[in-house]
């Protein structure tokens, strides 16, 4: 029997926008959860997904992908890669799995929302496959993380993290809730598939896959490259939607959703990817700096995509281009100082050779961030490692939940960073976070950051140790310096060390 070509039947078969007779259209697709802009049916009819696939094709391809991923993993298990990989690479994996496994799994909800409440059949189709993709991503990455448990109990945070009150977990949940779990189908398509996946997932997965291959981790590299092939398919849900919004007079609404989604996602990936690329990766394995990656993946590609679609660059673009030079350096020194509060051992990444690299990639680094590390290194060499352990919590941004940071020597911006709303004081990393908050204060005002929880008396005893327990970190799970402070002594004569 000859089968029809997909192109002969797909357009007819996917057209499932039937006219409901038992309920009103508005009950079938309530605007709150479907399309808050109530765009006309004629506009929605223009939605044409760029990637067409049938269920049978999907299953066949996915099956092959999974078979490949697990086969490579089985082969790699016969090598001694993990035993010999070194603590830095283990930390990259622990960080990635903790931040990503359940986050991907949770995005089934977002895909499910688009699959049920998207107004265009093509959107619903793609999102159905997207949902199946995210089941696969959650399962495969949890499986890999679980296999690594024999190397360290910290790998358990692949599963444990998002159920804790660890500060990174609070940040992750709050970001995911805002960007893709607590949004209608239209906004989800823009913020998740366009801002988050088209904008940044590429960088995390392709960038990291390249680094993994460099580091010799073929199994992990293969796993996340395979995941990325799904991402780059279902990430295309948003673009046709944005196109029809611009064309039908909804550009302002589309632009606002892009601006908000992009910024939140940027902060999330700066913490995750910026620190790994510029500090965790062994120097000899680094391909590009975080800034170079950002310029290639985000500035060049994302910028072009936005403009091609008839949208504008987000209003804060100049500030963003500045920010990629600095914010992640603050996150890195934060990771390291507050290493007790994370589930992986933190490489400082500031040996003399690495500092030279940082200075070359970020001119002025030595004179700003470097000075902090100078003092920290001096304290370590003087045997005063207790001074490198914080005594208090850092204040975190009321919106993005990350510690407020500035480049040493650069002024804070109190005007842009503070706001009182209904009698409560809110503090922001920048005027961009403040702007987002102001767009919908009721959505954000009641959120409790770790600091809010501390002030509300939830952390007992109310001190640093109390906070570590509250965050769900047992002593064996808490991070340490990944290299036992060797970086602070690198390149120094032992005698000189003794004299200091």
């Amino acid at each position: 029997m000859t089968l029809l070509q997909r192109s002969d039947w797909y357009d007819v078969a996917r057209d499932t926008n039937w006219t409901p007779s038992f309920v009103a259209e508005a009950e079938l697709f309530p605007s709150d959860i479907s399309d808050p802009f109530d765009m006309p049916k004629a506009a929605w009819a223009e939605y044409d997904e760029p990637y067409k696939v049938s269920y049978a094709e999907y299953v066949k391809v996915q099956r092959e992908k999974d078979a490949g991923v697990y086969a490579v993993n089985t082969a790699a298990a016969r090598t001694r890669f993990m035993e010999e990989a070194g603590q830095r690479w283990h930390s990259v994996l622990k960080l990635h799995f903790g931040a990503v496994c359940l986050a991907e799994s949770s995005s089934q909800i977002s895909e499910g929302r688009m699959a049920r409440f998207g107004r265009a059949p093509g959107m619903r189709n793609m999102a159905t496959f997207g949902l199946l993709d995210e089941i696969r991503h959650g399962q495969a990455q949890l499986y890999f993380a679980h296999e690594s448990l024999r190397y360290s109990p910290q790998f358990n945070f692949a599963h444990k993290l998002l159920g804790t009150q660890e500060w990174g977990a609070i940040m992750t949940r709050s970001t995911l809730d805002d960007v893709f779990l607590g949004r209608d189908a239209v906004t989800t398509a823009i913020m998740l598939t366009f801002a988050f996946e088209t904008g940044f997932t590429n960088m995390q997965f392709i960038g990291l896959a390249g680094d993994a291959a460099e580091a010799g981790d073929t199994s992990f590299s293969n796993l996340i490259s395979s995941i990325q092939t799904d991402e780059s398919r279902h990430a295309q849900i948003g673009a046709p939607l944005l196109k029809l919004m611009v064309k039908n007079g909804y550009k302002a609404e589309a632009q606002k959703a892009v601006d908000i989604g992009f910024w939140r996602t940027y902060r999330f990936f700066t913490l995750l990817t910026g620190t790994v690329i510029d500090y965790f990766m062994p120097l000899e394995k680094r391909t590009s700096s975080f800034k170079e990656f950002m310029e290639e993946w985000i500035v060049d590609q994302f910028e072009r995509t936005l403009l091609d679609m008839g949208l504008d660059l987000p209003w804060y673009w100049d500030f963003f281009l500045e920010d990629i030079n600095s914010f992640h350096h603050g996150m890195q020194i934060g990771w390291w100082l507050y290493r007790d509060t994370v589930w992986f051992d933190v490489p400082a990444g500031v040996s003399p050779a690495e500092r030279e690299w940082l200075e070359a990639k970020y001119p002025g680094w030595n004179d700003s961030w470097g000075r902090l590390w100078d003092q920290i290194g001096e304290n370590i060499r003087a045997g005063k490692t207790d001074l490198t352990v914080p005594k208090t919590l850092p204040v975190v941004c009321s919106f993005n939940n990350l510690p407020l940071v500035t480049t040493p020597g650069k002024s804070w911006d109190p005007q842009g960073q503070m706001l009182t709303y209904k009698g409560k004081k809110y503090y922001f990393q920048s005027h961009v976070e403040k702007w987002i908050f102001e767009q919908d204060p009721e959505r954000y005002a009641a959120h409790q950051t770790l600091i809010d929880q501390f002030l509300a008396g939830k952390i007992q005893p109310p001190n640093y140790e109390g906070a570590l327990n509250y965050m769900g970190l047992s002593p064996v799970e808490r991070g340490k310096d990944a290299e036992n402070y060797a970086w602070a002594f690198a390149g120094r004569e032992p005698r000189k060390m003794a004299a200091e």
Binding site: G330, I333, G334, W369, R371, L372, Q375, I376, N379, L387, T388, P390, K391, T392, L393, P394, V395, P403, L404, V405, T406, T407, P408, G409, K410, S411, W412, P414, Q415, M418, K425, Y427, I451, F454, L455
Partner: protein
Amino acid sequence: MSDLPLLVSCERDFLVHLVAVPSEARVCDLIEAAASLVVGVHLPDMPASSIRLRKIDRHEALPGDANVVDAGIEPMDWVHLFFEPASDGKPLQ
């Protein structure tokens, strides 16, 4: 006696510390408590006499011997440590 939770940043440092002081404390006590988190920790040692405190959105230093509440500091205010005279030219932040 109740504690006053505050945000404290410091010239040449990179983050904002959450610090609580008793409402009976003087500004100089707050300076001492806050400086102990930064000076000699993230920054080189500085003589205590050179450290001043201001509100983050004001220029003038608060008087060291004033009570923190009388000096106008309220819960969850953001205060900033700076050095005077500046050790190398102008204050940085």
